[in-house]
């Protein structure tokens, strides 16, 4: 209270502190920078977008009178002459989780100002992300060859195709944008922008390692969305 509006105030982190944070014309988020808060709010809006996709998928699946194609069989791959259910999707899941792990470590090394390890871990993350998109392209190709279209497919309810292409397509787009974002930030880390506080090209603000964490928030969100898609679309 001694320093209203200041960025860092020692204040209890309970309901009292909560109401103090929100009241009396001051900065609400005491410990998170504006950049981090803006990323969180963007992710919240993105949450609603993906929620709407998954909701419309739920609605069409519940209301169709023709049976829904069994994802366990649709996404099975032949390995050694035997169909293994969902194997490619499982591999993609593990890849995306691994990329989240390397991203979390990149953020950590960023705050330790370890330029080389941060950049390398971000490149590894980007490589995982790119391979994820590659496998998704493979999956799309396979399904399109088998006759899946947004308006129909050989196995059952027509809505399967449109839900599948819409949801995984939007997620794949997010991963692709994330890989590009990663490469841009990794290049800045590698060049030492955040060690020398080099001014940004567009914003002319000083570079800080916090951008690695903000980037990480986006990347983890992409992984988070996949957790929901994997559970609700592929496993359900």
């Amino acid at each position: 209270m001694a320093n209203p509006g200041g960025p860092a105030i020692a204040r209890p982190n309970d309901l009292k502190g909560f109401s103090d944070d929100w009241s009396s014309d001051q900065q609400v988020f005491k410990t998170a920078s504006w950049g981090k808060v803006m990323m969180w709010i963007f992710l919240l809006s993105d949450t609603f977008i993906f929620s709407c996709f998954l909701l419309s998928y739920m609605t069409v699946r519940m209301s169709t009178t023709t049976p829904w194609p069994n994802p366990s069989e649709v996404f099975a791959l032949e390995i050694g002459g035997k169909p293994v259910p969902l194997i490619l999707i499982a591999i993609m899941t593990f890849i995306l989780i691994s990329s989240s792990g390397t991203m979390a470590m990149a953020v950590n090394y960023g705050y330790r100002r370890d330029r080389v390890k941060t950049a390398v871990l971000m490149w590894v993350t980007a490589a995982f992300g790119a391979s994820f998109v590659g496998m998704q392209a493979l999956e799309w190709t396979k399904l399109i060859r088998e006759g899946v279209r947004p308006w129909g497919n050989p196995w059952g309810a027509e809505q399967f195709g449109s839900s599948f292409f819409m949801i995984t397509g939007f997620h794949g787009t997010h991963v692709t944008i994330g890989v590009i974002f990663l490469l841009i930030v990794a290049r800045k880390v590698w060049r030492g922008d955040f060690d020398h506080e080099r001014h940004g090209f567009f914003t002319s603000r000083k570079g800080r390692y916090e951008i690695v964490e903000i980037m990480g928030l986006y990347w983890h969100f992409v992984d988070l969305v996949w957790v929901f898609i994997f559970a609700l679309f592929y496993l359900w």
């Binding site: 860092a8 944070d21 410990t31 969180w40 169709t64 593990f94 800080r208 390692y209």
Partner: protein, 117 residues
């Protein structure tokens, strides 16, 4: 929390989250185990309510670990946690509305087109 903020003020340069790398490796391991479990649900062919319960359980535990640890939500102030995590509750209301709507559509289709699910 107050500890962290005073440290911030003191150095003026140190910023952000500082946790041992081991924490991330442990969480990474758990996410692997949980993903393997959700895959096993399909591989072993569980059906019915058990399947849905297990799928949702593993999904929410994984989501919690990612948001809480990887995205550092567990160390943020209550203010930010509420600002981000409370609005999605509206989605659950939306889910309820659409379940009613979908059932209505299904009944209408069955009654008027005579096709059973």
């Amino acid at each position: 929390m107050s500890h962290a903020t005073t440290a911030n003020q003191a150095t003026g340069h140190a910023e952000g989250q500082h946790h041992p790398i081991k924490l991330y490796l442990v969480i990474w391991g758990w996410l692997f185990v949980l993903s393997a479990c959700s895959y096993l649900v399909d591989y072993l062919g569980f059906q019915g309510y058990l399947r849905w319960f297990l799928i949702l359980l593993f999904m929410f535990v994984k989501a919690g670990l990612i948001v809480g640890i990887f995205m550092h939500m567990a160390w943020e102030r209550l203010t930010l946690i509420c600002a981000i995590l409370v609005p999605p509750v509206a989605v659950l209301v939306f889910v309820g509305i659409m379940i009613v709507e979908a059932n209505y559509t299904l009944i209408t289709r069955v009654v008027f087109f005579g096709a059973g699910p």
